[in-house]
């Protein structure tokens, strides 16, 4: 039995995950389906959404905020941040624009989460 706090939304439900049988993992304490999914994933393959920012050239602001469109394996967080450090984008940038495609072969893109107009 392992205990987690679901991080999928700010309610932070306290999950109890019975992982005695990895083919039949049982989650209790969740309020919604996402909690069940999270409990199972946290045992089998923990993932996190990564949010950070990248430098913008010729924009009204210096940086634009970005996120991985979906969660990526927890172990890849720092490697994915390295990619961002070496990235610069040209304004204008719009919410949803792909900043880095297929981050570390996860199939997940880094996308912009803010609009930055051109200067």
């Amino acid at each position: 039995m392992r205990e987690f706090i679901c991080i999928n939304c700010p309610l932070g439900c306290q999950l109890k995950v019975d992982d005695s049988d990895l083919n039949n993992i049982k989650v209790t304490g969740n309020t919604c389906k996402r909690g069940e999914r999270y409990g199972i994933d946290e045992v089998l393959n923990p993932k996190r959404m990564v949010t950070s920012s990248v430098v913008v050239l010729n924009g009204k602001e210096n940086v634009v905020s970005v996120k991985t469109k979906e969660a990526i394996p927890k172990g890849l967080i720092f490697e994915s941040l390295e990619l961002l450090k070496n990235t610069k984008v040209e304004a204008p940038v719009n919410i949803g624009d792909i900043i880095i495609k297929n981050v570390l072969n996860t199939g997940v893109d880094f996308v912009a989460t803010r609009n930055v107009e051109r200067n």
């Binding site: 987690f4 679901c6 999928n8 700010p10 940086v63 919410i95």
Partner: protein, 420 residues
């Protein structure tokens, strides 16, 4: 003197949602006044995810969540002024604001105050020691990193485990800094659980409960801080002092509703929330002045801010168009046994039995308790809570038949009942 039916002070998520709902009810004669060069409020700097799951069923970052409301405001052509700071609101509902074009004088039939909160400054918490560079409030650091793209330091200690502090711990790590510790005066965190998990535990950042910073050392720049454990009365035990090397101290010691404007308008304020005392229409003690969002009480969930603000917009609309000039009697909700406050604090004695939500916070961590509401001694609501904590707002959803009892009661109490 310009005239509007409705003036909304602050264009953060609360102001935006209030404007949209007043518009959707039918109001066209209104304006939003915003101090910053952008709509969206504090969300613009909250680039982390975790917003909007309850509203949009989707996990958004702060700027994305704000943009959805900004788009809705623009779609409706709701008027707004940026770079416009409201400097005074009177009990006659006259507004003075400083804009790029100078001083504006505006008269309103109704005003919604949605000006959010600000961070408690260092002065408010009394740390001795050097006044050197490298000390920031967590929110200021957040703005520097996320909006200006500037890193305030390399080796960081954070005082206070409020959400902004927790989020900034991870943010500083992501930008290559080292976060040596998060130091929390209380034996519990005022931040959300998920932020403790996701921002500290994931990166093995120690969270030291019942500790505080007793000294800050350094000449030009912070060189170290001295921390110590505190006793039950929160006094530092000097024999437990330890020095931590760092160049940056972030303070995340709480938020205070920004209520100078309300005070100026002689609105009655709560000594607990520091926001206005409102009735179940979100109306303050001055008829026609409403409050919602973080200026009313600090919310941890922007979804709840939007929800509350939607209601404020509707109630303001109803106020503007109601011909009846009736003033009802109101019953003050008494909070006891662990419950610090409720919003609303006043229940109007009328016959509107529509469902109603009470929001509240508790003063400590309590396990296995029942959250109860009683009217003249009769328990009308009772719900088991495995755990309640000061960091998480609780909601009590009351159905029509319960609201009827509430409105008829002469004594209303909200309290925790221990189950042990």
């Amino acid at each position: 003197m310009e005239k509007y039916n409705l003036v909304i002070v602050g264009g953060g998520p609360a102001g935006l949602a209030a404007a949209i709902s007043a518009y959707d009810k039918g109001e066209r004669n209104m304006i939003i006044l915003e101090r910053e060069p952008k709509l969206g409020g504090i969300l613009n700097q909250c680039i982390h995810n975790g917003f909007g799951l309850h509203t949009f069923n989707e996990e958004l970052t702060g700027p994305e969540y704000a943009q959805r409301y900004i788009d809705e405001v623009k779609k409706r052509n709701i008027k707004y002024l940026l770079n416009t700071t409201v400097i005074n609101v009177s009990d006659k509902k006259e507004i003075k604001a400083l804009s790029e074009d100078g001083l504006l004088n505006i008269e309103a039939k109704a005003i919604i105050l949605s000006c959010g909160c600000r961070e408690r400054p260092r002065g408010g918490i009394n740390i001795a020691g050097a006044r050197c560079a490298g000390i920031y409030s967590a929110g200021t650091a957040q703005k520097l990193v996320n909006i200006e793209g500037y890193m305030p330091g390399k080796e960081v200690v954070i005082l206070g485990s409020g959400d902004i502090g927790l989020i900034m711990a991870r943010r500083m790590i992501f930008e290559g800094a080292k976060v040596k510790a998060v130091v929390e005066l209380m034996p519990y965190s005022s931040g959300l659980n998920r932020n403790i998990v996701q921002c500290l535990n994931d990166f093995n950042i120690p969270l030291m409960f019942s500790h505080t910073v007793v000294d800050i050392k350094g000449k030009k720049r912070v060189e170290s801080v001295v921390i110590a454990e505190v006793d039950e009365r929160l006094n530092p035990k000097m024999e437990t002092c330890q020095e931590i090397k760092c160049d940056t101290l972030l303070l995340s010691v709480g938020l205070l509703p920004e209520n100078e404007l309300a005070r100026g308008a002689s609105v009655d304020l709560s000594r607990i929330t520091r926001g206005a005392i409102v009735d179940d229409q979100l109306m303050t003690s001055i008829p026609g002045i409403f409050e919602c969002g973080n200026v009313l009480h600090v919310h941890d969930l922007v979804d709840y801010v939007s929800e509350e603000a939607k209601e404020a917009g509707e109630k303001a609309y109803e106020y503007i168009y109601s011909s009846k000039d009736e003033s009802y009697e109101k019953t003050l909700i008494k909070t006891e046994n662990g419950v610090r406050y409720t919003v609303p604090e006043l229940i109007i004695k009328n016959d509107d039995y529509n469902p109603l939500t009470l929001k509240l916070r508790v003063g400590n961590v309590y396990k296995k308790v029942k959250l109860e509401v009683s009217c003249d001694g009769d328990v009308i609501y009772s719900r088991m809570r495995p755990v309640v904590a000061p960091g998480e707002m609780e909601k009590i959803d009351l159905k029509s038949e319960q609201v009827e009892k509430l409105r008829k009661a002469t004594e209303i109490k909200v309290y925790l009942r221990s189950q042990e």
